[in-house]
C-alpha cells in the first residue's frame, strides 16, 4: 500500500529550544543509520524507545549538521503504525531544514500536510472520532476545498497553479491532437511549444517567490562576513542583544556558524555569524570568493564588515563580488578619527555605487540603529516585488521545481527533434506535479480538452 518513507519537521515553524524531525515508513531505520552518527562513531543497535545521543551528518562532506538525539520506534508500536524515528535537535529553523534535507537526500519523500496522521489513521491507530477530523483534512486535497480550508495565500496559489495547468492542458491537447489525428493539419506544435514556454516562465516566477515564502516562514537570513578581527562577532552580539527574540544560541559543531533569530520592524530575522573568511598568504583570492559565495547563497542578505581604521581590503572586494547586494559596514568607528573614517566611507561608497556603506561601533552601539533601518528597508523592498501569490510550503516549492524541470525538458525535446510522444509525457508529468499542489488528476482532462478545442476525426 504505502511503501515510501516520509520525513517532516515535527515541531512548529517558530524557533524553539528543541526541534523535532520525524521519519516514518519501511526505510526509516535505514535512513537513520545513514544520516545519524553515534558518539565516537561507534556502531549502534536500534531498540524500541531507546534514546541515543550523536550527530546528524551532512553526506556531502561528512561533517556534522547538529547534535541530536535519536529515538527509534518499531512497527506497529509507533504513532503511524510503521517503523519510525524521531530526531531531537536544536530548534533553529535553519538547522531543522538541513536535517530534513539530509533525510530527503537519504531517500525520504517530504511528507504532505497531515500525512503522519493520515498514516496513523490508515493503520487503524486512530479511532473513528479522530478519523472524522482527518477525513476533512484529506478532503481538502480537492482544489475547491483548499480555497476555503486554507488561508487566502494558499487560495491565491492554487488559482495561479490552476491557471498554469489549464494553459498546459491546452498545449497538451494540441500535441495529442497532432499525435492522434496527424491527417488533420490543424494542430500547430510551434504554438504548443510557445504555450509551454509561457507556462514554464510562470512556474519559475512562482518558484522564485519561495525565497520570500521562506522569509515569511523562517525569517530573513542575514549573514555577517568579513576578514578576521574586524569585529563580526561583536556586531552580531550587539545586534542580537538589542533585538533578542528567543535566545537560542547554537554552537556550530564544526562549521563555525552561529545563528540567532531576532525581530526587526515586525520581521523575523535570522542573523548568521560566519567564521572569518580567511585569506592565508599565497592562496589566490578565488578561494575567498568561493567561500563568500557559499555563505551568500544561503542568505537573503550579506553584511560585509570591514575595519573603520583601514577601510576595505582585497578580500572584502572578493566578498562583495560574490554578494552583489551586500550591505557594507565599517566597524570600530569608536577607534578612529571622524575625518579618517569619513574618507574610508566615501571611498567605499564611490567604489561600490548604489550600496549602503554604514559606519558603526559594536562596542559603543553608535550606528547600530542605521544598520537596523537599512535592514528593514531591504526587507520592505523584497515585499514590494510580490503581487500576492507566494509559495511558503517546501513541498509546493519542490513540486514547482519538478514541474519546471519537466517543462524545460519538453521544450528542449520539441525543439531538438525528439519524439512528440516523449515531450507529451514530459508535459503530463508537469501537469501531475502542478495537480498534486491543488489535488487534481490529469488523464480525462486532456481528452476532454482535445475534443473541445479541435475539430478532429475522419
Amino acid at each position: 500500500m504505502q511503501t515510501d518513507t516520509i520525513a517532516a519537521i515535527g515541531s512548529g515553524p517558530a524557533p524553539g529550544a528543541i526541534g523535532i524531525v520525524r521519519i516514518s515508513g519501511p526505510a526509516s531505520h535505514a535512513v537513520a543509520r545513514t544520516i545519524f552518527r553515534s558518539r565516537n562513531a561507534s556502531p549502534f543497535r536500534l531498540a524500541q524507545g531507546r534514546i541515543r545521543y550523536g550527530a546528524i551528518i551532512d553526506s556531502s562532506d561528512q561533517t556534522a549538521i547538529d547534535e541530536a538525539l535519536l529515538l527509534p520506534f518499531f512497527a506497529p508500536r509507533s504513532y503511524t503504525g510503521e517503523d519510525m524515528v524521531e530526531f531531537s535537535c536544536h530548534g533553529s529553523p535553519y538547522i531543522l531544514a538541513r536535517v530534513l534535507r539530509a533525510a530527503l537526500d537519504a531517500g525520504c519523500r517530504a511528507a504532505e500536510p497531515g500525512e503522519f496522521t493520515y498514516r496513523a489513521y490508515l493503520s487503524g491507530r486512530l479511532d473513528l472520532a479522530q478519523a472524522e477530523a482527518v477525513a476533512d483534512l484529506i478532503a481538502t486535497r480537492s482544489a475547491a476545498a483548499l480555497h476555503s480550508a486554507m488561508d487566502l495565500r494558499s487560495g491565491l496559489l492554487s488559482q495561479a497553479v490552476d491557471g498554469i495547468r489549464d494553459r498546459l492542458l491546452s498545449a497538451l491537447a494540441t500535441l495529442e491532437a497532432s499525435i492522434e489525428f496527424s491527417d488533420d493539419t490543424l494542430a500547430d506544435s510551434d504554438q504548443a511549444t510557445a504555450a509551454i514556454g509561457e507556462a514554464l516562465a510562470k512556474v519559475r516566477e512562482l518558484e522564485r517567490t519561495y525565497r520570500l515564502g521562506r522569509i515569511v516562514r523562517d525569517g530573513y537570513r542575514v549573514a555577517i562576513i568579513g576578514r578576521p578581527n574586524v569585529g563580526k562577532s561583536s556586531l552580531f552580539n550587539a545586534l542580537a542583544g538589542r533585538n533578542r527574540a528567543l535566545v537560542t544560541p547554537i554552537p556550530g559543531t564544526t562549521r563555525d556558524v552561529i545563528e540567532e533569530t531576532i525581530t526587526l520592524g515586525g520581521f523575523a530575522v535570522t542573523l548568521i555569524d560566519t567564521a572569518g573568511i580567511r585569506h592565508a598568504r599565497g592562496i589566490v583570492e578565488a578561494a575567498g570568493i568561493v567561500e563568500a559565495r557559499n555563505v551568500a547563497a544561503g542568505a537573503n542578505l550579506v553584511i560585509v564588515v570591514g575595519d573603520a581604521r583601514i577601510g576595505l581590503r582585497a578580500t572584502d572586494e572578493a566578498s562583495l563580488t560574490a554578494a552583489p547586494a551586500a550591505l557594507i559596514v565599517l566597524n570600530k568607528s569608536d577607534l578612529v578619527a571622524p575625518d579618517r573614517m569619513e574618507r574610508h566611507r566615501t571611498k567605499a561608497a564611490a567604489l561600490y555605487v548604489g550600496r549602503d556603506v554604514l559606519c558603526a561601533s559594536a562596542k559603543t552601539g553608535s550606528g547600530l540603529s542605521s544598520i537596523e533601518t537599512a535592514l528593514v528597508n531591504r526587507m520592505q523592498g523584497e515585499q514590494m516585488f510580490v503581487d500576492g501569490t507566494i509559495v511558503t510550503n517546501e513541498r509546493h516549492a519542490s513540486e514547482l521545481s519538478r514541474a519546471g524541470e519537466h517543462l524545460r525538458r519538453a521544450i528542449e525535446g520539441l525543439s531538438s527533434g525528439q519524439e512528440v510522444v516523449q515531450a507529451a509525457f514530459d508535459v503530463r508529468e508537469a501537469t501531475d506535479a502542478l495537480g498534486s499542489i491543488t489535488g487534481v488528476t490529469t488523464t480525462e482532462d486532456i481528452i476532454r480538452t482535445i475534443f473541445s478545442r479541435f475539430c478532429v476525426g475522419k
Binding site: I138, I179, E429
Partner: protein, 646 residues
C-alpha cells in the same frame, strides 16, 4: 449496393430435428466483434453457433474501408498477438497501406490499411468456414433465455424456436432499433439495405439492463470515374510489413491503389450553413448522442466556424468497383444538398454521387453494467461486445469480441475469466474504460487514454500478449514458435551489441561525445539511444553472424531509446495504480462504510470494482472516498486476524 456474394445465405445449416439443440457458446451477430468471439471460443474447444441476420454479410464494413491508424492499429496487432483474425484478413485483402504517426514517435507509429470490402468479407467468411466446431446460421435472435438467478440458458429466435447454450455473446452492432436518417427521410435499419431488430432491445430492457441511444454517421459514396484527378493530391501506398505476426516481418510490395486528398472551402461551408435546417442532426430529428471525435461535416462547420477548410480523403472501397468513400464528409443532409456540397470541392465539381451519406441511431447497453470479462453483472453467461457497448470502430469491436469469446469459452469450462490489465494492453485500457468509467458518447480508442503509452507499442504486441495467448490456448503453434525465435534473437543481438565498441574517431561528427572526460569508445547498444542513430548503421559496419529479422534491430533500438522515459512512465503508473493490489471482497457493503458519500456508495455498489485502484478511477469517487474505503478494508482484515493487531 455492391453486386457480389452474400455469405450469410451460403452458410445455412439445417437444424437436426430429433434432439433439442445445444451449443456451448452462441454468438449473435457476425460483424467484427461476432467473428472474433466465435473464432476464439471455437479455438478454445467449444461448440459454437453464430447467428447472423438475414440479408446481412459476414464482417461487413459498413462505414469506411480503413483499418488501423494510431491506437486502432495497435488494437489490431494486439488482437493478432492473441490469436485473433482481423490482422490476417487485412493482410489478405489490403489495397492500400501506409505507416502513420512515424513523425510522432515509435509508440505512435502503426499501420493504416485500406481493404477491398467484399474481399474482406470473403476472407473472414473463409476463416469461419475453416474453423472447426463452428456453425453459422441465418436467423434473428429475439431474446436471451434465462434461469431463476438470471443465468443464461439459451436464446429464443424470432420464429419462436429455442436453442440452448452455456454462454451467449451479443454483438448486435447498430441493429438494435436502428434508424437511418438522410435529411428528413427516416428508414428503420441497422445499416444501408439491412433491416433493424426491435425485439432483442425490448428483451434486454425487460431483463433489467439500462439502454441508451447513440448515433453515428457515414459519408456519401461517389463514382471514381467522375473525379477530376488534376485537382486532387495523390497519396501512394507504401511497402510495409504485414499486419499479422503470422505473416512474417518482411516488407511486402506496395498494394496497387492510391488514395487522394482534397479540401472543403468557403463555398462548401456556405451550402451547409444555408441548409442546416434540413440536416437530420440540426433539424432536431436525431436524439442519439454522436461522437465528438468523428463529427459530421455539419458539426465541423458549426463548431469551428473560424476555419475555412477541412481535409477530405477519397478512398476506393473496392478493387474493381468505382465506389469512392469521401472521408471527412460524414453527413445527415438530404441527398440533393449532399450533391451540392460535394460539387463545391476541388476535383469533385462534376462528381456523380452513387449513394448519399446517412446517420444511424441505435440502442446500446451502458457498459458499466458489465464485468471486466464483458459478462453482464446481473446475467451470468451473457456477454456483450462491440457497438452494443457504445464503442465505435471495427477494431474496438473486434477487440471486445475476442475478449468476450475467450471468456464465454472459459465460463463453459468453469475457468476464471481472463482480465486484461490496462497497464499491459490497449485492449485492457478499452475494457477498463468501458466497465469502470461508463460512457456518455460513443467510445473511440485513443493513444492518449493509455497511461503506459510508451510501452504499449505496435512493434511489441507479440512480446506483451502472445505469452498469455500461449497460456490460455489461443496461440497457434506457429505463433508461439515465431515469438520464441524473436525473443532469442533479441537477446543474442543485445548481448552482441553491448560487446561492440566504436571509437569516437570512427563516428560521424554529430555523434561524438564532446566532453573531454568521455571515454574513447562507445558501446553499440549505447549508441542506439541517440534518436538519430539507426540500427542499420551499426549492422552495416558490424553485421550479425546470422541473418536476423528487421524487427529484432528495431526492437532493440526502440527499447534503448525509450529506456529512460519508460522508467519514468512506470514510476508515474505506479503512483496512479498504487492500490491495484488491494482487492475488494465482492460481498462488501458500501453503505456501511464510515464517511463515504451517499452518491459514491451508490456508484460503487453499482459498479462493484475489483480492487481499490479500479474504484479510484470511477468518475465521482473522490480521493477522500478512496481513503475511507481503504480504512474499511484494513479494519476488516484486522478484525479477521485479531492476532496481527499490536
Amino acid at each position: 449496393m455492391n453486386p457480389s456474394h452474400n455469405y450469410g445465405d451460403t452458410r445455412l445449416h439445417e437444424p437436426q430435428d430429433t434432439m433439442p439443440e445445444a451449443f456451448d457458446v452462441i454468438v449473435v451477430g457476425a460483424g467484427h466483434a461476432g467473428c472474433e468471439a466465435a473464432l476464439a471460443a471455437a479455438r478454445l474447444g467449444r461448440e459454437v453457433l453464430v447467428l447472423t441476420l438475414p440479408g446481412t454479410r459476414i464482417a461487413h464494413m459498413a462505414c469506411n474501408c480503413s483499418i488501423g491508424g494510431p491506437a486502432k492499429g495497435h488494437l489490431v496487432r494486439e488482437i493478432d498477438a492473441l490469436g485473433g483474425s482481423m490482422g490476417r484478413a487485412v493482410d489478405e485483402t489490403v489495397t492500400h497501406i501506409r505507416y502513420v504517426g512515424t513523425s510522432k514517435g515509435h509508440a505512435i507509429r502503426t499501420l493504416r490499411a485500406q481493404v477491398d470490402k467484399d474481399e474482406y468479407s470473403e476472407a473472414m467468411a473463409r476463416i469461419l468456414t475453416l474453423a472447426e466446431r463452428l456453425t453459422v446460421r441465418t436467423a434473428e435472435a429475439a431474446a436471451p433465455l434465462t434461469g431463476a438467478d438470471g443465468e443464461v440458458l439459451g436464446v429464443r429466435l424470432s420464429d419462436g424456436s429455442e436453442i440452448r447454450c452455456t454462454a451467449l455473446v451479443l454483438t448486435t452492432g447498430t441493429y438494435l432499433n436502428g434508424l437511418l436518417h438522410c435529411g428528413d427521410e427516416q428508414t428503420p435499419g441497422g445499416c444501408f439495405d439491412a433491416p433493424a431488430v426491435a425485439s432483442l432491445s425490448r428483451a434486454l430492457a425487460d431483463l433489467g439492463l439500462q439502454l441508451g441511444r447513440f448515433k453515428t454517421g457515414t459519408t456519401p459514396r461517389v463514382d471514381r470515374d467522375s473525379i477530376d484527378w488534376s485537382e486532387v493530391t495523390r497519396i501512394d501506398s507504401e511497402e510495409t510489413e504485414p499486419f499479422s505476426y503470422l505473416n512474417g516481418r518482411l516488407n511486402r510490395p506496395a498494394p496497387a491503389l492510391p488514395c487522394w486528398q482534397t479540401r472543403t472551402n468557403r463555398a462548401t461551408h456556405d451550402v451547409i450553413v444555408r441548409n442546416l435546417h434540413r440536416s437530420a442532426l440540426y433539424g432536431g430529428r436525431i436524439e442519439g448522442i454522436g461522437p465528438r471525435y468523428c463529427p459530421s461535416i455539419e458539426d465541423k462547420v458549426v463548431r469551428f466556424a473560424e476555419r475555412d477548410s477541412h481535409p477530405i480523403f477519397l478512398e476506393l472501397e473496392y478493387r474493381d468497383h468505382p465506389s469512392v468513400y469521401v472521408q471527412g464528409m460524414s453527413t445527415s443532409m438530404p441527398a440533393d444538398v449532399q450533391i451540392e456540397m460535394l460539387r463545391t470541392i476541388p476535383g469533385l465539381r462534376d462528381v456523380r454521387m452513387l449513394r448519399p451519406g446517412y446517420a444511424v441511431e441505435y440502442d446500446m447497453v451502458f457498459p458499466d453494467q458489465l464485468r471486466p470479462s464483458l459478462e453482464v453483472r446481473t446475467l451470468p453467461g451473457l456477454f456483450l461486445a462491440g457497438q452494443i457497448n457504445g464503442t465505435s470502430g471495427y477494431e474496438e469491436a473486434a477487440a471486445q469480441g475476442l475478449v468476450a469469446g475467450i471468456n464465454a469459452a472459459r465460463r463453459c469450462r468453469g475457468l476464471p475469466a481472463v482480465i486484461f490489465d490496462r497497464k499491459e494492453s490497449y485492449i485492457g485500457v478499452l475494457i477498463d474504460d468501458l466497465v469502470t468509467r461508463g460512457l456518455e458518447e460513443p467510445y473511440r480508442m485513443l493513444t492518449a487514454r493509455a497511461e503506459r503509452r510508451l510501452s504499449l507499442r505496435h512493434d511489441n504486441a507479440d512480446r506483451r500478449l502472445t505469452p498469455l495467448a500461449v497460456d490460455i490456448g489461443m496461440a497457434e503453434p506457429e505463433r508461439a514458435r515465431r515469438l520464441e525465435r524473436k525473443l532469442q534473437a533479441i537477446d543474442r543481438e543485445r548481448t552482441r551489441l553491448s560487446r561492440i565498441v566504436f571509437y569516437q574517431r570512427d563516428l560521424p561528427e554529430a555523434w561524438r561525445r564532446t566532453d573531454p572526460a568521455a571515454p574513447e569508445g562507445i558501446r553499440a547498444i549505447d549508441l542506439l539511444r541517440r534518436p538519430d542513430v539507426r540500427y542499420e548503421w551499426i549492422r552495416e559496419r558490424n553485421p550479425p553472424p546470422e541473418d536476423i529479422d528487421s524487427d529484432v534491430g528495431e526492437a532493440l533500438a526502440i527499447d534503448a531509446r525509450y529506456e529512460g522515459y519508460v522508467a519514468r512512465q512506470d514510476q508515474r503508473t505506479a503512483r496512479l495504480f498504487a492500490h491495484a493490489n488491494t482487492p475488494i471482497p465482492s460481498e462488501i457493503d458500501y453503505g456501511a462504510i464510515y464517511g463515504i458519500s451517499r452518491a459514491s456508495a451508490d456508484r460503487l455498489t453499482r459498479l462493484r470494482p475489483l480492487d481499490v485502484a479500479q474504484a479510484s478511477r470511477i468518475p465521482g469517487v473522490t480521493p477522500a472516498d478512496v481513503q475511507m474505503l481503504m480504512i474499511h478494508l484494513r479494519r476488516a482484515t484486522a478484525a479477521r486476524h485479531p492476532e496481527s493487531e499490536p
